[in-house]
């Protein structure tokens, strides 16, 4: 097992970070767990467009303001909070929410509301401060954009696809989920020169499927400019240990597949400073097997 030296430095760095970003909205229990439930189940009637009962639940401030019947959250007392009480009535009760046979909250969602109110109904309490909350359905992908919106460059993307014989596929309907560089249909057409020509859209590509292509170490220089790259598959390419150093600027790279390449332990060692790298595969190479998840093996 190769040790993962960057993790030796991770703890102090994280401590500093934690102090700085404690109030970042995306790390709070409210933003991560409570707001998504309200957004999904409540704001159709209690939001910007409709305010039934003069109540809005589309922001923390609005939630705390309450509706025509007064406040809906009594911090620390779920059983005295209308937000909790109204969703836990008998479904036949005329006060039951969501009304009009709209999809009710799941038991897990109710539990999240209960725990949050019991813990003080804070906007800023970090996610980790409230223990025991059930995992939410459809864990929300972090709402951070993985890449810039590709749509303004759609014409350019289409032109590059045509010229280079490869594909640039949106990962989902969300235009900031980035593009996949896909070469499975014609791996032989994708070479170092083709990669270089992708420069105008390099920042849009979050996944590069380059298995069995003609990429060499020289191509990795172009790849280094794929600033939002998360996953890179170099299976069965001519890449060697010498080239891997070129990947150093890929600060977001999380997974790297080097199966059946010319890499060895020296090359793998060059990867140790990639801060986000969690998974590396080196099957059928001269490198010793690396832990797939260094975080797990460090324990």
């Amino acid at each position: 097992m190769t040790s993962w030296p960057n993790f030796r430095h991770a703890v102090p760095a994280l401590a500093v970070l934690a102090a700085v970003v404690a109030a970042r909205a995306e790390d709070t229990f409210y933003a991560q767990r409570v707001a998504p439930i309200l957004e999904q189940k409540c704001v159709t009637c209690h939001g910007e467009k409709k305010q039934k009962g003069k109540l809005r639940l589309d922001s923390f401030a609005q939630l705390m303001r309450g509706g025509e019947g007064g406040g809906v959250v009594q911090a620390g007392e779920a059983k005295d909070s209308a937000l909790f009480v109204r969703v836990t009535l008998h479904p036949e009760d005329e006060d039951f929410m969501p009304a009009d046979s709209k999809p009710p909250l799941t038991p897990d969602e109710v539990k999240v509301l209960e725990l949050w109110i019991a813990a003080g109904a804070s906007e800023t309490a970090p996610l980790s401060s409230i223990q025991g909350a059930p995992a939410l359905a459809a864990p929300k992908a972090p709402m951070v954009a993985l890449a810039p919106d590709w749509r303004p460059r759609a014409a350019q993307i289409a032109q590059l696809e045509k010229a280079l014989g490869l594909r640039l596929v949106a990962r989902s309907h969300l235009p900031t989920d980035g593009l996949v560089l896909r070469t499975a249909g014609a791996p032989g057409r994708c070479d170092d020169a083709a990669l270089a020509q992708l420069a105008p859209v390099a920042d849009l590509i979050v996944e590069a499927e380059l298995a069995r292509t003609k990429i060499t170490d020289a191509g990795l220089v172009s790849l280094a400019t794929f600033s939002n790259l998360r996953a890179l598959d170099l299976t069965r390419t001519a890449v060697t240990s010498g080239g891997l150093g070129n990947l150093a600027p890929l600060g977001k790279l999380e997974s790297l597949n080097l199966t059946s390449t010319g890499v060895d332990d020296a090359g793998v060692a060059r990867l140790k400073d990639l801060p986000a790298l969690r998974k590396t595969w080196v099957f059928d190479t001269r490198a010793a097997a690396v832990a797939e998840d260094p975080a797990a093996s460090a324990k």
Binding site: A135, A158, V169, H173, R182, A184, F283
Partner: protein, 528 residues
Amino acid sequence: MKPGGLKSAPPQTMNPLSTDHHLCSDHGGEHPTVWDLPHVPHGLKREWLGLETRRHFLGQGVKALGWAGLATLLGRSAPNLLANAPIPGAPAMLPHFAPKAKRAIYLFMAGSPSQFETWDHKPALADLFDKDLPESVRGGQTLTGMTASQTRFPIAPSIYKFARHGKAGRFVSELFPYTARVSDELCVIKSLHTDAINHEPAILQLTTGNMFPGKPSIGSWLSYGLGAMNEELPTFVVMTSKMPHRTNVQALSNRLWSSGFLSPEHAAVALRSGSDPVLYLNNPKGVASDVRRAMIDGVNDLNRQLFERVGDPEINARISQYEMAFRMQTSVPELADFSNEPQSTWDLYGPRAKEPGTFAYNCLMARRLAERGVRFTQIFLRSWDQHSRLPTNIKLMAEDSDQPTYALVTDLKRRGLLDDTVVIWGGEFGRTVYSQGTLTPENYGRDHHPRCFSMWMAGGGVKPGLSYGETDDFSYNIVKDPMHIRDLHATILHLFGLDHSKLSFKFQGLDQKLTGVLPSKVIHDLLA
């Protein structure tokens, strides 16, 4: 079609299609059609004909683009799709949300392995050998004709032992010494249930979501919803496997992997188990590749003319199938050439992987297909239907499939493919706790049982090491977390980034879905 059905109608209102006996169309002469409606101007009827199908409408749009490359017929690539005008009737071709799985390999254990000897360990039954199953458990359930006449329903404990394996400490049957090694990768579901008690409808329900034939298969829905990752190979591939023994073998038919009402190009290509995976793929002697290309271009041109005249989407499907066949002339020989596999492959899958058509060979082929971007590969292994001599026959089946199954999961994992490939293992229903036929300490059989059965999934965003759902002490009824086949389908689509309630196709006046109209849900507990 009943050609010439309108021959007595006045010429000015005649359906132009009905005069051509060689056309295949839904409206080739049956009564009544739009053409029989009074007071509708002839021009309007012609317009209706022109817009007869949404695909024809789509085809007209594509024609305007000059038929630039058939591979882009349906705008396979998303940015292209958006760059041009949105095409009415075209499927999403994009996941609704970012997917975890890019591909699936479905190991279909046709005939249905007993859950008692495989994944639903019931140690307490050992003390109940040959006791009668309490009537309260069976609850008056209708039995199949095969056991309805039995006077007793004696409990048959598993003859095979179980032991804990892996970090998760899961009980795995001694029938699966290899699969036990990857126990921690598996998510075993013990609480599946289905509606059908006989094979054909049950297999159809698993493969197409409906026990009546004519619905698209899971792989067809994925092809329709997401398009191809590799245009050189089919998006959906099916393989059947040689059987280690043959008892109660059910026939497999292509309705299990048909595209139903979706365009035929979404149907699976079935790879044969002989030396030629696809028949007639090689050019005849003396026919060079460019000659073949010219021939296909000529045929396609004729088909296109016919399509412009008729608008039948089947014609477009035919064109794309010619194109696919041509591309497969190059891609399939390379795919089926195992000579570049390293020794480690044969060590892993075992020597039988060299014999075309074995389950081991098919598992290795599935890995090669996954490497090349094929979205959905379904391997059928039949003869799990052990109504009698279960202890002997289930062992033959396990011995044939255990190592290749383990090998596939292991191989995908070491090559970095398991993260985005979901492997699914299971039959079409469960089997009864009571013996069918005579029960002895060494021998028994089990009848069909739709109320509960076990499957497993691995990789592709499924939670590894999990056991989901529970059955009662007799594995007869589900006591915790029931999961209907529809939920399984909804969950599989979810792994691919697809919302099962949104992936639909308008047919017979309904928004048809894999999960149908009955309640179905994604089982979020299974997701990693």
